[in-house]
């Protein structure tokens, strides 16, 4: 009977599930499913995974050691996507890596459907993260904190954290992921942290500083005046900057 391990949709959750599946059933028919995102199938035995950080660290080490850092990078990014079969694809990629001579080259085997899936997801997340380094807009709150809201499909916060930490080392800033309800917070001169399980205080987030309105207006006007009317091409604009990203962008509000 196929063993299916059920876990939460987090890196720790998936890695814990991989840990258990790997320890108990790596040579038999087994798989991983995400809680709340799966269709129960017949002839499967479902097991709830006990998630903890030790298991997660062990799997991380296992991947880095045997598949190399680049494969880990792809796997990590694939697990941030919003796909419901990502955990299974990663698990089977790891299983298939055992079959080939040089496991570190597993990501080159794009004809393997699991590897191709991981590769595709990783690229998707990477691209989305890049888009948010471009289109994130901060607003200054009363207490001087820069605050931004985004609605990404994937959990991109950890992918963009280093970029903004390096860019604004002396600022206090927060990025709020509306889709997954996670905060990315940075305190001046410190490392960034991820905050989960807190609700957004909409009242505090709505109190913008005195100058904020002025600069928002300046920016909106700049975006209008920099465009050449004779060359107007809204289709081209939409191609580069799809409507779905405009919701949280200052110049489109």
């Amino acid at each position: 009977m196929k063993q299916v391990y059920i876990c939460q949709d987090t890196i720790i959750g998936v890695f814990s599930a991989i840990h258990d599946a790997w320890m108990e059933n790596r040579d038999d028919d087994s798989g991983i499913a995400l809680r709340g995102q799966m269709m129960p199938k017949m002839f499967c035995e479902y097991t709830e995974v006990e998630e903890n950080e030790q298991k997660s660290i062990a799997v991380e080490r296992l991947i880095k050691k045997n598949l190399g850092y680049n494969a880990y990078w792809d796997i990590y990014h694939a697990l941030l996507s919003d796909d419901c079969e990502k955990a299974d694809a990663v698990y089977h990629t790891m299983l298939d890596a055992r079959q080939i001579k040089d496991s570190k080259r597993i990501m080159e085997h794009l004809s393997n459907p699991h590897v191709a899936r991981v590769f595709e997801l990783s690229r998707k997340v990477g691209n989305e993260a890049h888009i948010f380094t471009e289109f994130i807009r901060f607003r200054e709150l009363e207490n001087g904190v820069l605050f931004s809201e985004i609605a990404p499909k994937s959990q991109v916060l950890t992918c963009i954290a280093d970029h903004f930490t390096n860019r604004f080392p002396l600022e206090n800033w927060i990025v709020y992921d509306q889709t997954h309800e996670i905060f990315l917070a940075h305190q001046a001169r410190r490392k960034w942290v991820l905050v989960q399980g807190e609700a957004l205080n909409t009242e505090a987030a709505g109190k913008i500083s005195e100058k904020e309105g002025k600069f928002e207006n300046l920016w909106k006007m700049f975006c209008r005046s920099i465009s050449i009317d004779e060359r107007g091409n809204p289709n081209l604009q939409r191609g580069h900057l799809p409507i779905c990203y405009r919701k949280n962008m200052t110049e489109f509000n």
Binding site: F138, L218, R224, Q237, E251
Partner: protein
């Protein structure tokens, strides 16, 4: 008078005027330099550049593109800010530029500053003001993002050098492709005045490269290189002349980029082309950019793409397809044997896919399906390729035949070119009728 206006003008109005006046400058790239923040200021740079927004004309907004002042002692015929135009004049102060740049950058609106200027009083005076603004931005505000600055032709060497150490990219506008055009439309500028600072920046960059080898922490001079731009369609130059100029700029001045700007008629002047309903020559600009890429990345020479007899680009086909059709004797090319340079010349194969082919064919013989997966655009490439000696379909190696098929799959052309603003829904197939006419139209 101007002084009075300035006193009453808010930063909002100033930005409105001076960004509106700067919009005809083309370059808005923030690429070419990688720099990490040292932890004491704000900003960093990424080699590939980052676009932050796109304006209604579809161009990217990467930098805060403004003029320092739109006052100008020159009277260039094509320019909105020429001295004989009656427009509201104003100037920023260095403080205002710093505030705008820093506050926009903090909110992740922009990647840096693009500072150009009209000529206030004299080139040296203007350059001095620009230097003051950049110095404040770099040293007082500790801004470590991207700065693109215009070198003013006629400014002293020493000033250009000092500004170069503060900026990431410098550019001198060539304005018009030939010296005659310049004489006609920009009587106060001379070719020599424009090329002198360009040469200076080039030499200084070479010196700086050696300094950096010796002293790792020596200050960087224009690390993202220099660029230039010219106006297309204001003067009667041919595409061949323009492309040759661009080629010599790349070869002799080591420019990073040459930008082409389709002429937008903002002034009425007897020396300028009459204003028409057609709008700026965007397709011509597009073809020039395509050819520009062929020069920089595909190892083409200007003479191969165009010549005296055939001085303008084909409106229907991109320059690479056009070249391939005229040189059918080189094709078809065998994917599994042809060298990298030959592969690069095949329409539908780019730098990346050519490199992937060269790598992948070591592992095994390539088929057309493999090419597709590598990113080769087969609808264009299939007329010019064989895999193990076989073409993808039965194809005639005839110019007319291939041209007809390429036009069928090709890019979307503006309505003015295809001559079709609408199409009647018809039971009869009128597409082929049109295609049959295309070779006739082209002669």
């Amino acid at each position: 008078m101007t002084e009075i206006i300035q006193e009453h003008m808010s930063i909002y109005d100033k930005l409105n005027i001076l960004s509106d006046a700067a919009k005809y400058d083309v370059a808005c790239t923030s690429s070419g330099v990688d720099r990490q923040n040292d932890g004491t200021g704000m900003g960093n740079c990424q080699k590939a550049g980052i676009c932050h927004s796109f304006s209604a004309d579809g161009r990217c907004i990467s930098l805060l593109k403004i003029l320092f002042t739109n006052e100008c002692i020159y009277d260039c015929k094509y320019c909105i800010n020429r001295s004989s135009n009656d427009v509201v004049r104003t100037s920023f102060t260095p403080d205002e530029i710093c505030t705008l740049t820093m506050e926009f950058y903090r909110r992740n609106y922009i990647e840096g500053l693009f500072l150009s200027s009209g000529i206030l009083k004299s080139p040296n005076y203007t350059m001095e003001l620009i230097y003051a603004a950049l110095y404040k931005l770099r040293h007082e505000c500790n801004f470590q993002g991207y700065i693109h600055v215009k070198a003013i032709p006629g400014a002293s060497q020493e000033l250009v050098q000092r500004v170069g150490f503060l900026a990431d990219r410098m550019s001198v506008n060539l304005e018009l492709p030939t010296a005659e055009g310049l004489k006609k439309l920009a009587p106060h500028k001379s070719r020599k005045n424009i090329l002198t600072p360009m040469r200076l920046v080039q030499q200084k960059m070479q010196d700086n490269r050696q300094e950096i080898v010796l002293y790792k922490n020596a200050p960087r001079f224009v690390p993202a290189g220099q660029s230039t731009q010219m106006i297309i369609g204001a003067t009667p130059e041919t595409d061949y002349q323009i492309l040759s100029v661009a080629e010599s700029l790349y070869k002799r001045f080591e420019l990073k980029r040459v930008f082409y700007s389709a002429f937008v008629a903002v002034n009425k002047d007897s020396a300028l082309p009459a204003r028409t309903d057609e709008g700026p020559p965007l397709l011509r600009e597009h073809r020039l950019y395509q050819a520009d890429w062929l020069l920089r990345y595909y190892r083409f020479e200007a003479d191969e793409l165009l010549n005296e007899k055939n001085p303008n680009f084909n409106v229907f086909l991109d320059p690479k397809c056009d070249w391939a059709l005229k040189h059918l004797e080189y094709f078809p090319v065998e994917v599994n044997r042809a060298d990298y340079n030959t592969l690069l010349r095949v329409p539908g194969i780019g730098c990346k896919s050519a490199a992937r082919i060269v790598k992948a064919r070591r592992m095994g013989i390539l088929q057309f399906e493999d090419l597709k997966r590598m990113g080769v655009v087969l609808k264009r490439a299939l007329y010019f390729l064989t895999c193990s000696g076989r073409m993808m379909y039965r194809t005639k190696m005839e110019e007319d035949y291939i041209m007809r098929n390429l036009l069928n799959t090709g890019e979307k052309l503006p309505d003015s070119v295809s001559g079709m603003t609408f199409r009647q829904l018809s039971l009869f197939d009128d597409m082929n009728f049109r295609e049959a006419q295309v070779p006739e139209i082209l002669g």
